[in-house]
Structure formats: C-alpha cells, structure tokens
Symmetry: C2
Subunit: 186 residues, 2 copies
C-alpha cells in the first residue's frame, strides 16, 4: 500500500475538497484512494496508508457504503473484507450526482410542499407564500431535470455534455420542429 507521490497528492486533495462534496476529510481520502487504486484494499491497509485509526476507517467505509460508492469483495483464504470503488469513474460520478440530489434537494422539497399546504392568514403570510411557491417551482423543476439526466445512458449524456453552443441551436430546432408540448405551453 505504498502510494506514488501523485496518488498521495490526489488523495490529500480529495480530503480537502471532501467537505465541499458532502463528506468529511478522511472519507474523501478513502474514496480517492479506492478510486485510483484498482486492486481491492482492506481496512488495515487504508488505516496505514492514510494514517488514521482503525475505528475511523470502519466508520468511513460505512458512510461510503451508504453513498453506494464502494463494493465489498473477498480474497480466497483471507477473512478480511476488501473494498474497491463501485464501478468506473463515470459510474462513480453518476452516483455522487444522484446521492447529492437526494440529500440536497429532497428534504427541501418536502418542507416547502408542506409549507404550501397551510393557508396564508394575512397579507404578510401571503407574500411569503408567494416566494415559497417560486422557490418550490424552481427546485422541483431542477429535481426533475436532474432525474432526467440520471436516466440518460452514457452515450446520450456524453453527447449532451459535448454539445457546447450547439445546445441552444438544438433547442431552437426543437421549437421549429414543433416538439410534442410546444403548442400546449400556456
């Protein structure tokens, strides 16, 4: 479990960025390590490579499993648990995207939906309600869009992301061609 200096830098950086991506430093490091290292790695190796306690590794692995970012394996004749990143870089990015949508959008949508149920009692509340409705509509749409993106297969997703300025042209094209809902819009 000796890391090249490149790998080392990669791992440390993912640790630092971790909190911005939704996990803590050591979880970020563990994820990065399992991502660049294609061979399965066990908990002791992680603890040694990252210089963290065995207990911390155990908690981190649990969290990465909750994110569905790692997979458990077994080596014949070895009772230890071995882990690898769950799939290709592409698969991992997709999973992170989906999990983040769930964690960042869903709870808010649920709350806002609930707030919109209660009738405003006065002018003041009516004003708030209106803003809440706006926020809700936007986040709801964003959530649906994220969902649509998640469902695209790799080929289409790649095509879409590579469009660049072609995207607005394509959207234009759609209007002219008269997309299914083009004439339904209010």
């Amino acid at each position: 479990m000796k890391l090249s200096s490149q790998a080392q830098a990669f791992v440390l950086h993912f640790g630092e960025m971790g909190s911005r991506w939704g996990f803590n430093r050591t979880v970020g490091q563990m994820f990065a390590l399992l991502t660049i290292h294609s061979e399965p790695v066990n908990a002791d190796q992680l603890a040694e490579a990252l210089k963290i306690s065995r207990g911390n590794v155990s908690m981190g692995l649990k969290e990465l499993q909750a994110w569905r970012l790692i997979e458990l394996h077994h080596q014949p004749g070895d009772r230890k648990d071995y882990f690898t990143a769950a799939g290709s870089i592409w698969d991992l990015a997709r999973t992170v995207f989906e999990e983040r949508r769930k964690r960042e959008l869903d709870p808010t949508l649920t709350l806002l939906r609930q707030l919109l149920l209660t009738e405003p009692r006065d002018e003041q509340e009516s004003e708030s309600q209106k803003k809440i409705q706006e926020v809700y509509s936007l986040l709801e749409m964003l959530d649906q869009f994220a969902n649509t993106l998640s469902k695209l297969d790799e080929k289409d997703l790649l095509k879409l992301m590579k469009l660049g300025s072609g995207l607005s042209k394509l959207l234009e094209l759609k209007s002219r061609a008269g997309g299914k809902k083009a004439d339904t819009k209010k």
Copy 2:
C-alpha cells in the same frame, strides 16, 4: 421584522441545509430571510430576527456578498446599510450554481492538470496517472457543460429542463440530422 411562522420555518430550514449548500447555518438563514422578504433589511434587523450577534451578521453579509447573492441599498436619510437578495429566485439559483461550480470544480481541475504534467516514473505511477486522467476528463467535461448551461438564457434553460424524456429523443434527432461534429468523432 416579525416573521410569519411560514417564513420562520423556511429560514430555519435553510439554516439547517446551509452546510450542504456550501455555507454555514447563520449565513443560510440570512440568505433565506433576504430571499422571502422583498423589502430591504439592515444588519440590526437581521441580528434581531435571527437572534444572532451583530458581529456574526457582519461576517455573514460579507460572505453573501462574496457569493454575489445580495445587494446593498441605502434608504434616504438613513445611514444604515440595507440589503436585498440579488435578483429573482431564478437569478439567485443561477448564481449559486455558478459559484458552486467555481468552488467545487475549479480547484480540483487545477490540481489534476498539474499532476498530469509530471511524467510517471514507473508502472505504479503510470497506473495512477491513467486514473487521474480519467477523472480529469470527466470533471473537465462536466465543468464545460455547467458553463454551457450557465450561458443559456432563461427561456432556453426552462425549455431544456422541461424536456423530460423528450431530451433523449432530441439527442437522437440530432444524430440523425448530422450535427456538426457527428462525423468528426473518433
């Protein structure tokens, strides 16, 4: 500065979600408050409404300004600084999106670019390099795509997000129509 119970719930929730969205609790609350409250608000009012110290408000405002999420105003005959959310809900969402891209993607792209410059010294390093390249390619593409989305005008963005399953059909359409780069792909 009395908040309706709806507004109150909204503000508290944004405080709790704050950390997942890239800012701390009180900054999240301040942002939420300025978002539902259309009238300009001054620092003392924020401190009172959120029950936090004046110093904390000052720091939070500074951070929200760094995010470009609030605007400074002045009331005639009043020396205090007043703030409002910077634009419509739509504008705000766009800004959050752009700022997050900058904070979450750019530093990593910079590091990976740098790691890719050094020649691998052995088989081990060559393996790491390969993975780093894959991660880089994906994040670079994602960054470009986010950039493209940021540049779309509101009309097109709305159209795109509302496509739903129509999106893959549209992409299909593009292939058949023979997009500019369709035959250039390796």
